[in-house]
Symmetry: D2
């Protein structure tokens, strides 16, 4: 059972486009010292699609070596082909990952019927040496994992949960209602963290936890302690910064925000473009205002 | 300030297509005896687009005459043209409506810029003798009222609130954060009633309250009393019936469900088609199961 | 059988919001003197959704009285309810309309299944005293009439054709392939007039014909005369002005363009907003350039 | 300048999931003997997203070795990262590819602004040793290359053209109107081949040319010879088979159709699922009917 707040760690790049491991180490040390339950390596916020496989393996190894040994490490292992996803999942499982996070294949949207998706996840879960977390991310993939499909998949003994970034709170509620227990249901965006927890979600894997990990953890603690009004105010306060670093602008904004908060964001990798001055000011202004009012 | 649970009342039609006022009276009596704060007449669930203006006026008059005099009546007054919406809003205001519920005009989606929508609502609110509630209903209109637009409109002294059926819980949270108080924020679908209340919504106007008014009211009371776990279970239990009578099938299913629950659903009006046997069984089966487990 | 180029006539409004019949007369006289096969009254470009029924009846009567008696008049008669569409179709049929143009009902998008739409059009066609043209207009209605549905409906003896504004050229080709002859297939936007004619369309009902009727007619003549290279150049030349008066800006731009071309556009009716200076210059600039290069 | 009909070659897989080079050879020999101007290797129909880089290199080498030496070979070289696309484009350029076909990066849809996309294609074109063809494929990528962006990119001396699978015939017309010559504009789906050619497209790269290469070439010849009525009939006849092997079902159907037509389709690679019996019969039935009536 996975619980608590995870952050899908960003990958800082140097001017020459290489992974900046010094910055990565700095960040891993900081996240290790927080209340975070764990990290996700090679998630969307980690720009995994821009990394070669050699870089992926190096980065996973580095995180396993340097992140707090008592906290969990989940690794994104998605490829379009079933065979590749299985191969890479086995590899990171052997390296020591606690679980893998797997997107639906999504290039051939018309061919990815529920039957095809179900067979894919079943086969990956059958062969993966560590638990599989489903990763529902329609804004990036153009494919939604329906609550009915997720409920069916929850019966697989090696499918441990879902990170749901879809933002459809009714669908999330249906998953909570229907999934076979134990099944870890994680909010995938801090914009709906409180609603998800209210309905019974077990945790979250959210970009915002890169830069405000303690605040995300505190929101969860407030709910556990029944301090609903404080939780409500915190949720509303978090919205604006969260919007900018996710749906509003995205990873490039998250990196600027990270640097502002004492982490090392580094640069995004091309084709992603670094923030222009105006957007940088918007992100830093939102953070400044948040820090004053929290 | 509007608060509590409202039901957007269905309009029962007879075999010959006319409004069945006997059935309407039966339902109004039953709703009057519940904890509902009020009703919405001429909402989407009332099939307002299928009524002639003469029928609309008759129906509003009938509801004002027969619904509990201490409860509120909100009337849907949307037309595509500004002038018509104002004219009809004045009329129902004079008839005794407590407020009007107004959709964005939506036929010319490309022309309905935020500027056009803002001017529309401002002008309607300027001239309407009773408070205006905004009605955000993207599934039917294809137009979304952004949280920024709603926040601007909340400054108008005669715009009293919003019924938000969009289902984007983050957007709803932004409205709660940004609207100028007092501003009544109503969930527009019972599928996200608990999340909305958790974030600070003031009430709801939901189709489900036609058939399960006390259960909807109870969910709100549970939240007010801090009984979160009971509220959570009730929310999850309500999902399936709610799905069928709203997004899953719609008004025709709501009418069948109403009849099953001791209300008088009557028939939908053409071109809407009554439920086939299979869907009828699905709706009744879901209700039966809900009643057993609640 | 309907053939040739029709224009869905704009409705000029005066400063006080009333229909400006003097301007309407001016335009009808000019259109009468062109090669247009006919006009459509109460189409989308005529802002039909902003007119009261009394205004609709007056306007239809005025057009029948003043438009060229040897040309055809098709009238838009769409209401959401089956009964209202039939009632109004009968009325304009008795007034002398040559055909009616009917949208799918579209407020309850989830309930408007193919079965519901088919029953609707069948019943309207059964009872309408003049031929029915289907009107596929997804950008405004959010509903698409599939080629399979259109093909089935083409078997009804009183369904005479379709105006297809969807812009899916493959779907249009399928309709041409499958519809039971005779069936008049009209392009609904001048942006794809040449492709539609190449595939076998019988004509067009396009906004652009309000302001450049002869050019639209000439494109059709060029195709009939086998002058494909000239047709091709004309099609490409027409694109920019057409874009601005349809998908790019819309009816408000069409009215400005009309006035520039010697017609009387008048104002749009609220909530539609008249063009700002910048857009006005863009529209007039595009027309100026077109007139120089044609 | 690229002209004529290309086929984006399918990749036949064996039961064990490996590339079946014997089948590939069989197909290359057959395509070599047709009027096709060339082939595209590693296109969407080639399931390029399911191939490892080693397999991609092998396959490209195999095609260069075995395909007709006087015909052209275009290779799909898309990766999400700019650096990877450039690296692989250089590699296949050195191997002998005549051009590369490049998708917009599309995982971070929110970050792929026009500015980011323009910078991406400019940089790839700057560094690629052979001409670059843009590849607009919104159904798979969720990103559209606007006609304005394509027009700007057409100014780059090493951007040679576009394969446009979007199916928006107006957008295609705008590209034809605005692109700086020489610029090769290819229809990306046989469903709108005739409309595209009518407007001035230079050719096509279409899945259907895998199985009916001569018929696709004949359509182009008919247009060049001014035999419009024959072209029109051929276009309409091709629609149904084309629908099934592209938008209707997809690559798995294309493979079944290939085998039916004397090519060797082989199996799709997982997670794509082979056709079930019912769909197989539908595809074969459509082909049978086409062959009888052509």
């Amino acid at each position: 059972m996975f619980e608590g707040i995870y952050t899908p760690v960003l990958t800082p790049f140097a001017e020459d486009g290489s992974i900046d491991y010094e910055k990565m180490k700095h960040n891993l040390d900081k996240w290790s010292a927080t209340a975070l339950a764990g990290i996700v390596v090679l998630g969307s916020n980690g720009e995994f699609v821009y990394l070669t496989e050699a870089e992926k393996v190096d980065l996973v190894g580095f995180c396993i070596e340097h992140f707090h040994e008592d906290k969990k490490i989940i690794v994104g292992t998605s490829y379009e082909s079933t065979a590749e996803t299985i191969r890479f999942s086995k590899l990171v499982g052997e390296m020591g990952a606690d679980a893998v996070l797997v997107l639906p294949p999504h290039y051939y949207k018309g061919s990815m019927t529920e039957a095809a998706l179900e067979a894919y996840f079943q086969e990956v879960a059958d062969q993966c040496p560590v638990p599989v977390m489903l990763y529902n991310m329609p804004p990036n993939t153009g494919i939604n994992l329906s609550s009915a499909l997720v409920a069916r998949l929850s019966n697989h003994p090696n499918i441990a949960g879902i990170k749901d970034t879809a933002g459809d709170i009714v669908q999330l509620a249906e998953i909570i209602r229907d999934a076979k227990q134990p099944f870890s249901i994680f909010a995938g965006n801090a914009g709906f963290l409180l609603p998800a927890l209210t309905l019974g979600a077990n945790g979250a894997t959210v970009a915002l936890a890169n830069i405000l990990p303690e605040d995300c953890c505190r929101l969860m603690t407030l709910v556990q302690d029944g301090k609903w009004e404080e939780a409500r105010r915190l949720q509303l306060n978090l919205l604006q910064v969260n919007h900018l670093v996710t749906r509003g602008i995205g990873v490039a904004a998250l990196k600027v925000a990270a640097s502002y908060m004492g982490y090392e964001g580094g640069l995004p990798r091309k084709p992603m473009i670094p923030l222009n001055v105006k957007d940088r000011e918007k992100v830093e202004g939102a953070l400044k205002e948040y820090l004053v009012t929290r």
